[in-house]
């Protein structure tokens, strides 16, 4: 019983280790940078994808298509370099939550549209798409909770232990 507790403790320590969070942070950051690159250059196409979800009002579609890829890119960069990573990952969690909700709503509606997560509309979304987004959301939450390694901003800010 005791060894089981010890194994669970060790496993929990490994899972919540800051280097695991660092790996997740780099992965999520890179993913968002990659996802943003195409959409930034093809705002019209992305606007069509957003409209296909039938969630945002028509007057907000183009503005969202213009701003969201840049938000993804900036948050991805901030997350990777470790400058205001908490704020960046909160944005990313928010966006992933929105994407998951939008996918879920349209899966329930039975609308056959591409998810448009990376390049163009892509293949039609399914429940695996939603599962993938939920996994990414969990990774982002892990980053928010346990990440503390290699933050560039720590080089320029006084840390509590310095006091």
């Amino acid at each position: 019983m005791r060894s089981r507790v010890t194994i669970l403790d060790t496993a929990w320590r490994i899972v919540t280790h800051r280097y695991v969070a660092l790996i997740f942070r780099l992965y999520i950051g890179g993913l968002f940078i990659y996802a943003a690159m195409y959409k930034i250059n093809y705002a019209g196409e992305f606007a069509e994808t957003i409209a296909g979800y039938r969630i945002l009002p028509y007057w907000a579609i183009n503005m969202t298509a213009i701003v969201m890829p840049w938000l993804e890119l900036i948050c991805g960069i901030l997350l990777i370099i470790g400058v205001r990573p908490n704020a960046a990952v909160v944005f990313i969690i928010g966006m992933l939550f929105l994407f998951s909700t939008a996918i879920f709503v349209n899966l329930i509606r039975g609308t056959n549209i591409g998810c448009g997560c990376f390049q163009g509309p892509g293949s039609e979304m399914d429940w695996a798409t939603l599962g993938r987004d939920l996994v990414w959301t969990a990774m982002a939450i892990h980053v928010y909770l346990y990440d503390s390694a290699f933050h560039l901003e720590q080089k320029f800010m006084m840390r509590v232990k310095d006091l």
Partner: protein, 390 residues
């Protein structure tokens, strides 16, 4: 019998002499007592010397007197004259030399504390042009570094200063040096007390300052701890995400997104252009089926094909904006421009009908209308819809 008065006379004379000696002894004892009494309450060195000089001049019936006291340790001296017209002023070196010369001509061969010795030669006085000629002079030692000289002159009566007076003077001087020693001791005690008092005051001041300093240090430590806590809190707060971070990231994304979009060849307008440009009028289902339109009009479903396939108004032509040009070329190129065109198809995110209406207007069609309520209103009014999926 004749011898008896002579014998009596001798006895009487003897008795008279004895009485005279006793009177003298009594006078000496009284002088000793008086001098001792006068000096006993005096602790000021100058006053002590003055008082003693006056006393011995009276006791020895001298018209002039001089007392010199030298403290070789502090190189200080007191020179007091009485009964002279022109007082000689000494320098320290002169006073010290006089004392040393007097020691040389005194009966003492070594300096012993609390000793008084008679000066047998008055040359040291005559050598310095002394203001009177001393009849008797004494050299006294209080301590090895505290010594002095007493000189008396100008006797008021001839042959009055006998050996008895000399002995009395020596005794008085011995008492005098005790008083000087006491006065010096009192002076030293007073000085020490004064120093002690000053030290006490300084100590009290130091204690006060230390107390103040401790209070200040305590306050500063408290202040420092507060500042440290504030910095710690600020630092911790800085490391957390704040609303300013969100606002900044959002504003930056917005700004750079709009700027990039303005300069991008693939940029889009901030709001869909048809929202601003189209002036197509809305018509109700009832109007759409009225004779004015009815059979004459063409119904266009502007939605994407997948929505069209799901459900559309019977006989409606599917014409999404993306393939408008192609469909127009295929089906509407020969359509008269005055044929009414009724367009429907919109959702919360996209007004396909307005976009297609705008495109028809651009091709000079005169009667372009948008069906109010789209397929839903059509169905609700009881008109037929169909699906291609079935």
């Amino acid at each position: 019998m004749k011898e008896q008065p002579e014998q009596l006379q001798r006895i009487l004379e003897e008795a008279e002499r004895n009485r005279g000696r006793l009177d003298k002894k009594n006078f000496h004892m009284t002088s000793l007592l008086e001098t001792s009494r006068e000096l006993s309450g005096v602790n000021d060195l100058d006053k002590l010397i003055h008082t003693f000089l006056l006393s011995i001049m009276g006791t020895c019936s001298m018209g002039s007197g001089f007392i010199l006291f030298c403290d070789r340790e502090s190189k200080a001296y007191h020179a007091v004259y009485r009964g002279v017209a022109d007082e000689k002023h000494f320098s320290w070196e002169t006073a010290d030399k006089l004392v040393f010369d007097c020691f040389n001509v005194s009966k003492e061969r070594r300096i012993t504390p609390f000793t008084v010795s008679t000066i047998v030669n008055m040359k040291p006085f005559s050598a310095i042009d002394f203001p009177f000629v001393p009849v008797t002079a004494l050299f006294y030692v209080i301590e090895s570094q505290a010594l002095g000289v007493i000189a008396l002159g100008n006797p008021l009566m001839e042959n009055l200063f006998t050996e008895d007076e000399a002995a009395l003077l020596a005794t008085l001087t011995a008492g005098f040096i005790i008083h000087i020693r006491n006065a010096r001791a009192v002076s030293t005690i007073e000085r020490l007390n004064e120093n002690l008092e000053i030290r006490n005051r300084e100590l009290e001041q130091t204690i006060r300052e230390l107390t103040e300093a401790r209070k200040t240090i305590s306050a500063l430590e408290k202040f420092g701890e507060t500042i440290r806590n504030i910095i710690r809190q600020k630092s911790e707060r800085l490391s957390r995400a704040s609303r300013y971070d969100f606002i900044l990231i959002l504003l930056f994304s917005l700004t750079i997104g709009i700027l990039y979009n303005m300069n991008s060849p693939n940029g889009v307008t901030l709001v869909p252009p048809y929202v601003i440009r189209t002036d197509a009028k809305m018509i109700s289902v009832a109007e759409a089926v009225s004779p004015e339109y009815g059979e004459r009009s063409v119904i266009v479903d502007a939605r994407p094909a997948e929505f069209y396939r799901e459900e559309h108004i019977k006989s409606a032509v599917n014409m999404p904006p993306a393939i408008f040009d192609f469909i127009y070329l295929m089906k509407f190129s020969n359509l008269p421009v005055d044929t009414p065109i009724i367009i429907y198809g919109r959702n919360i995110s996209k007004h396909y009908d307005e976009e297609v209406a705008y495109k028809f207007q651009m091709r000079a069609h005169k009667t372009v209308r948008i069906l109010d309520g789209g397929v839903s209103a059509w169905k609700k009014s009881g008109y037929e819809v169909e699906s291609d999926d079935s």
